[in-house]
Symmetry: C2
């Protein structure tokens, strides 16, 4: 069935971020849409952010394009140049290799939801505001290359 049955997909707030970077995403609830739909060329996640939650640490991807469609509620998109409010129906796009980190923060009193899709090749990336990056093979490290923890998964970002 091409229509995705969201309720049937496990919703998780798992993160591989090492402390203390995991705290802001504790209220981020994700569903793996691409896997549920049998997609292999596209990545896709459905995300609900509780009030106060972040979509991720502010980051950019070396080899993957990302595109987001807001479904409900409102969130603030944070980038190098400042902040932009996103509401239902808004679309944002981030080309691979552009080192302008982005994340969404729900500063409202209600949950918000969006779909985030991606495509390209896993070439790692970095976080704009903290001393962390991730490698092509999915490990979190500091900028000097020393690893965080026990090779924690760097997915989702």
């Amino acid at each position: 069935m091409p229509k995705i049955d969201l309720e049937s997909i496990e919703q998780t707030n798992n993160t591989g971020y090492p402390p203390p970077f995991n705290a802001p995403v504790a209220g981020r609830w994700q569903r793996k849409v691409a896997e549920a739909g049998g997609l292999t060329e596209l990545g896709a996640r459905h995300v609900v952010l509780e009030p106060g939650a972040w979509s991720s640490q502010r980051h950019w991807h070396e080899g993957e394009d990302e595109l987001l469609v807001m479904i409900s509620g409102r969130a603030v998109l944070v980038e190098d140049a400042g902040e932009t409010e996103l509401v239902a129906g808004d679309i944002a796009a981030w080309p691979k290799g552009v080192r302008n980190g982005h994340n969404l923060i729900n500063r409202s009193d209600e949950p918000c939801s969006f779909v985030c899709v991606s495509a390209g090749s896993e070439e790692g990336g970095a976080y704009s505001d903290i001393d962390m990056m991730w490698t092509r093979d999915g490990r979190f490290t500091r900028r000097d290359g020393t690893p965080y923890g026990d090779a924690l998964s760097a997915k989702p970002r």
Copy 2:
């Protein structure tokens, strides 16, 4: 600016479909979102369907995944197995190579809008209900390989 300014993107109802297959998509108004956002790994279009309009002839892709997010209004998703209503916030996914043709038809009295994204490789595809396919190099032909018209562009589908 990662937020897409939809109003600044040209909206067109162009189609390369040969007559009479072009008639049902005359009320399909598309904006090229991926190009506006600088994306190269992901394809993305914002589409408005007037009442009665189709998103495309019913089709499938050999080498590209597709994913759709409904933004506003309602439409009917048509597939081999029948019809499914999609409303704002619904998501549908079509894996590459699955020969179950799909399109959306706006049977309501109001416009509807959605975003459609794609990724993968151009390997052609076919239309389920008419004697037409498209080739890897973007030409519309009949199933026996004879071309339609003067090598009309097969994009958008």
